[in-house]
Symmetry: C2
Subunit: 228 residues, 2 copies
């Protein structure tokens, strides 16, 4: 079984490397010149993760259980939890260790990259977070119990968080689309980046691991947010 | 060991799904209107694969061994071989079944996506095929022997094959750069696509699995080749 045990270790090491919401360094000011100089554009890669309801936390981790803050995320109040779950897809194919993000939400949802979807045998729809009607389901396995999600497995649509002041300066509003250009040894422009503007968010783009890898974000020379 | 054996099976299934050089259907005519109508733009995803010398084929598969044609590729004369090798990286992390592409070459080379590089623990340089000086090495394991590559593990730079007639119509020449736009539910523009023009190639873009997944090529509505 040395082949299988190597695989298992490699998987575990990969998960450790991909710690949820790996923060890319701010690699340059926002690009189109209209944003304030103080708003450095942060581009973050969201590795696969799960959002849970209070009820599902108790089913998976035991009566009275609450999520434990492991690492704060860039947006105030959000965090990678210490807890992980196993995500099981059709035909018992599974991802063994998927990080839970907090705080809890009114619905449980699984956000994966297409690469994860292929591993799991799920054809992922691309959806903004929360728009899960009619999406595939899965089974979540925790140390104390199992939850069957009837729906909620998605590839999260790439998006940019910003506050209303930044939205005004970029000339966009909540729900608009922008483009993100990542300049590297393999430069990519991601179109149709959803603008999620509210009163309190910090300026931050969320892309997934496939997108981060396609553009070699780790070695990016410049990141720019462009009005479409 | 049920966890490990599931992982192993999932990996095998994924490899089967990603059969090397999965052919995307031609999803539209070449985009800028200058290409002949007969040249449908084909965009192909190159899954991880290996090129071998005649000598390395004999070391890995036995004295006198030759590659066996399993599936012809889109470019005339090229094929996915029946043979596969194990690619072993630092600290014995490995990819168990990497397809060999034929025909043989004057040098052996391993082409991986960044996702594969993370699994293997190798920080991949982005290089055009053949420009492997100073790149990381690895160990290849076949049924009959082992080859240590001192260098040659790369992420292949995205590129477009075309013949001189098509190059002239696009107004580009060998070594130039173009952009590829893939329109889908998550539209992406890949800049800096290397033009590889010669007398005989068919019009075909090669991107890797990370790039194909980032752009959701499988569900693309339109693909366009644009002059930069």
């Amino acid at each position: 079984m040395s082949l299988a045990s190597h695989l298992d270790r490699a998987t575990v090491e990969r998960i450790v490397r991909e710690i949820v919401y790996k923060q890319a360094p701010a690699t340059g000011p926002a690009g189109n010149g209209t944003a304030p100089k103080s708003s450095e554009l942060v581009v973050s890669v969201s590795a696969r993760h799960v959002h849970l309801t209070d009820e599902d936390v108790e089913i998976l981790f035991g009566k009275g259980a609450k999520l434990t803050v492991d690492k704060p995320l860039y947006q105030d109040g959000f965090y990678a939890a210490a807890e992980t779950v196993m995500v099981v897809g059709p035909r018992r194919r599974m991802l063994p260790t998927v990080r839970v993000l907090g705080p809890t939400r009114p619905f449980s949802q699984v956000e994966l990259a297409f690469t994860d979807g292929i591993s799991l045998g799920i054809d992922l729809p691309v959806r903004p977070s929360g728009k899960i009607s009619g999406t595939p389901g899965c089974v979540l396995v925790g140390p104390k119990g199992v939850v069957e999600l009837k729906e909620g497995v998605i590839r999260a649509e790439r998006h940019v968080h910003m506050n209303q002041v930044e939205a005004k300066r970029y000339g966009v509003k909540n729900g608009d689309r922008m483009s993100l250009r990542i300049e590297s040894s393999c430069t990519v422009v991601f179109e149709d980046l959803l603008v999620r503007a509210d009163d309190t968010s910090k300026l931050e783009v969320h892309i997934d691991t496939d997108e981060g890898n396609a553009a070699d974000l780790d070695h990016a020379k410049k990141v720019e947010l462009l009005k479409q």
